[in-house]
Every structure is written in structure tokens, then in C-alpha cells.
Point group: C2
Chain length 118, copies 2
């Protein structure tokens, strides 16, 4: 069983966090290759990254992919998220946890932006 | 002549701003319908939003589309960017300036994220 955890920054605005939850809801029906898709937040919203990963493992995940929903390779992507993942990996050595490339690296972004502009 | 201005938050990390500039470079060859594609930053980097729009107009743009490179409808998207656009519109009443939907609303995002996760 394979889980995908989309990690967003988190916001004081509940509506911004709900946007991430709605996105994950849209992903689930399309998520071939993943039995479980959920979100987690670096800060300001729940679940935290460790809680999100641990929930996936508790639900039966035997492999977890963490995907940073971030546009640039700032401190959050380079240090904070890997830090939480390493910590959670140490608590769960039996489940491989991998970090996927962050959203800002997606090759589809130029065309996606052009579609929005039209 | 139609211009597209991609507005990012801006960062103290030069590399994060350069990621936006590189993205815009990737967009240019694909940007059918736009004669000019450039970036601007809400804060912490140059050009500012007014400077970016004014540069497009100075280069000959007769219509400008501003696209917020943001993932959620927080204060920056709801208030700050429209504020700068209104101010610049007032200074240039002859050139229509339109704000496109922000990146977080793109219907391609679920599949883009799933592609990154694989």
C-alpha cells in the first residue's frame, strides 16, 4: 500500500488550508499508483508533517511519498520538510519515505500558466 | 501588442527569484497570444509590480495580463496584487490591465502533482 502526502505551508486563513484539502480531494480519483492521498502542513494547520505521515502508516502504508506543494526551493523545501521526514523515517524504519520534487519544478507549469492567462 | 506579467511573491533568496525568471524564460517560446512575457515581484525583488507593468507598457503593450504565481487566495492575491494593479491602471488608463486567475486554481494541478510523485 502506497501513500502520497501533499505538504503545503499552512496558513492562518482556514480558506487557504481548505484549498489544499480540496486539491487533494480532486487528486484521489486520478491517483493511480497510490492507495491513499492526503495533505499535511508545515505549520499553522493540521495535520503536521509527522502526523500526516504517521496517519498514512497507521492506515497501512508500506511506502510513503511526500510531495512539497511549494513553488521555490526555499528553506522550507531544502531544510524544514526534509528534517520532518528524516525524523519520521527514524521512527518508522520499516516504511520507506521518499520526498518527490516540489511543485515549482514541474515541467507542466509554463503551459499551465499560459492556459490561465488566456 | 499584448503582455503577460507573472507576479511572484519575491524572496530574500536570489535563487528563488531566479527560479521565477527561469520559468518565464521557458514560457516565452510557448506564449502564443502574448508578444511579451515577463515577471514582477510583490516584494523583496525587482521589478516591482508597477515597474513590471510600466515596463511592458513602455515596450509597447496595449493590453496587459497580470497572473499571480501564488497557490492560495491569501491577502497577497486578494488585496495586495489588485491594489498595485489598480494603482498602475489609474496611471495608464489607455491600457487595459486584467488579473488572470492565480496558479492555485489551475485545473491541471492535480495531474501535475501526480506526475511529480511518480
Amino acid at each position: 500500500m502506497r501513500a502520497l502526502v501533499i505538504v503545503a505551508h499552512g496558513s492562518r486563513r482556514a480558506s487557504s488550508n481548505d484549498e489544499v484539502r480540496a486539491l487533494v480531494d480532486l487528486m484521489r480519483p486520478q491517483a493511480t499508483g497510490f492507495d491513499l492521498v492526503q495533505c499535511a502542513f508545515l505549520e499553522l494547520a493540521e495535520p503536521s508533517i509527522p502526523d500526516g505521515i504517521n496517519a498514512a502508516i497507521a492506515a497501512g502504508a508500506r511506502e510513503v511519498v511526500v510531495l512539497p506543494y511549494f513553488l521555490s526551493a526555499g528553506r522550507h523545501v531544502v531544510e524544514d520538510i526534509p528534517g520532518f521526514v528524516t525524523q519520521t523515517q527514524q521512527q518508522n524504519p520499516q516504511v520507506p519515505i521518499r520526498i518527490a520534487p516540489y511543485l515549482g519544478t514541474a515541467s507542466e507549469l509554463p503551459q499551465t500558466l499560459l492556459n490561465l492567462a488566456k
